[in-house]
Symmetry: C2
Amino acid sequence: MSMDITFLGTGSAYPSPHRGASALVLRTEGDCWLFDCGEGTQTQLMKSQLKASRITKVFISHLHGDHLFGLPGLLCTISLNWSSAPSQTPVDIYGPCGLRHFLRVALGLSGSQLLFPYAVHELEPTPDQCPPDAFLHPLAALPCDEHLHPQELPGRTLTLDSADECYTLLEDEHFLVKAFRLFHRLPSFGFAVQEQERPGRLNTQLLKELGVKPGPVYGRLKAGESVTLDDGRVVTPGQVLERPIPGRKVCVLGDCSALVGQAGVLHVCQGADLLVHEATLSDEHQERAVEHGHSTPSMAAEVARACRPRTLVLHHFSQRYKPAGLRVEEDAGSEADGSKDNGDVMELKRQAEGALQGTGVQVVLAEDFLTLSIPIKRP
Amino acid sequence: MSMDITFLGTGSAYPSPHRGASALVLRTEGDCWLFDCGEGTQTQLMKSQLKASRITKVFISHLHGDHLFGLPGLLCTISLNWSSAPSQTPVDIYGPCGLRHFLRVALGLSGSQLLFPYAVHELEPTPDQCPPDAFLHPLAALPCDEHLHPQELPGRTLTLDSADECYTLLEDEHFLVKAFRLFHRLPSFGFAVQEQERPGRLNTQLLKELGVKPGPVYGRLKAGESVTLDDGRVVTPGQVLERPIPGRKVCVLGDCSALVGQAGVLHVCQGADLLVHEATLSDEHQERAVEHGHSTPSMAAEVARACRPRTLVLHHFSQRYKPAGLRVEEDAGSEADGSKDNGDVMELKRQAEGALQGTGVQVVLAEDFLTLSIPIKRP
Ligand SMILES: [Zn+2]
Ligand SMILES: [Zn+2]
Ligand SMILES: [Zn+2]
Ligand SMILES: [Zn+2]
């Protein structure tokens, strides 16, 4: 099964002509899962090779506008360009409490009818995910008895499982998806997508040698059943199945200056194939970054050092960091404060690499429309 | 006083890489008034020569997402890039009932704090502005006792003045702005910006001949006062003032398939310098256009024929009409139904021109980033 990730917006705070607002797509066999949906995401999708109509799930890390304001328009546009018959399969949307109300108001007041149902599954944040003033205010304002939008199906409200400090969003034969908590100016979440382990392949060469002929017996062995041959011999799956194929793991963290429930987060992210972490400002600006609930490359690297992904992908760059190809000489002077941060996004990569020296973790800078494929793991 | 209009988005229904969603800016001496604010307007502004921070007033024609969903993000980004001290001057926002609630929810849930106050002045629609189902539903859902957003100042609720079938939005020494009703899938409005007449210039040559020397007397004459000279002669303003300079008029109509309160609308739009009217689909598709509450070029021309603007500007084109410069041969085939509409936006212009033959009304097709200047009128 092919699996890749495409960055649609890698800028912080707002969309600009150089960097879109936050959004990325994880694609598996054509199915698209969207992570965050800043303003302009639908236009970035049109510019990409991805099909908006293939989006089946949306994950919103937190309710800041640069991660959210593109969602009502995206849903409307998917519906407008809907080519098939009205669908019964809902688009599942996951995000912090408040998301349901936001969509109801935006879709309701704009008179938007969709050709597919949707459900919002809300994550209940805990008070330690943000400064106290930000926790109470927006949630207190929500009306408690609301009508669903005409195309809205009731969603679940997901609470923290204190055992693993995670929220279980979904589990099926292909994936287990969990969310975990991050500290930010508003409650923020990260998402861990764990592909399920798949049974190893049948060693057909060995089966031939054992005299087992292709047929229903193969399926039973593959399903983990021992079979007794006509001559009385018993063949066990362990004999003829190759080692199971480990599932891939992709972790996408929302804006944050720290993990909340660190042990649980590091456990669920351990050994990810890709760890996508924000790096809004360079190490020189750590104080300002933390003040705004953001991270620097070294802070992202610290998380990676603890959970050892194969690759750390940095994104959510301040708009002052232009894409590497676009830098012009006049931008390149040093800052007035004499720091080394001259708006060169490559410096963010160097800082993360420096902090990860000796770990073997690879660092990649995301750019709008960058696609990274996540190869199948070797058994 | 210079005056121009810049189109930031000329596409219908949603923003695309070829046409932004609806937004245009009327600029007078650096002051920017924004009409509609579809998703991506802030990015279009950044690509233009205009400064978002100069936006002092916003007019929203109706609550469809392609005219509205860019507004919360635009306000946040203006605030983020605010270079001066926090301001006391509010941004005045005008639009249909429901706009106030939408902004409260979007700004509130996203935890957005602004460095300037804003006020939303709501226009109360009448039931004849849309199909009956669209009138009741979204308004009924609004909570009636709400807290203002921390940066929100109380706004006015504007009702129809049955005398002229208009809403008076503001009147000061420079401008009189009225709104009027349009029929659409949701209640929609048009806006008529009337520059006030300015006094004519003093004929200084004549004053010299009359023996009147420059001084405070000039100011009194200019202000419309008669003055008695030392020798007893009386000089009246009528003698020495050139004819007053007529104010310019710009009318921007929201999405519509018809005017509501036609006599009043035609009166307030009469003789406009620019009449900006939508033309979503070509004449061949009039039935479909009307079904969706939209107009064709001939329908726009009919309005122009009745109120005789100097120039009729068409915009809000279906995304099937690519900008003239971007058309590629493969798009250019005829439609399956054999109609002449082959996606050529120039055909929309020809249709409007055909319907306006003999009227002297000029037709202009808007494109993203097109700027039209509105020259001062001759006395
Ligand atoms: Zn952000
Ligand atoms: Zn944020
Ligand atoms: Zn529209
Ligand atoms: Zn509309």
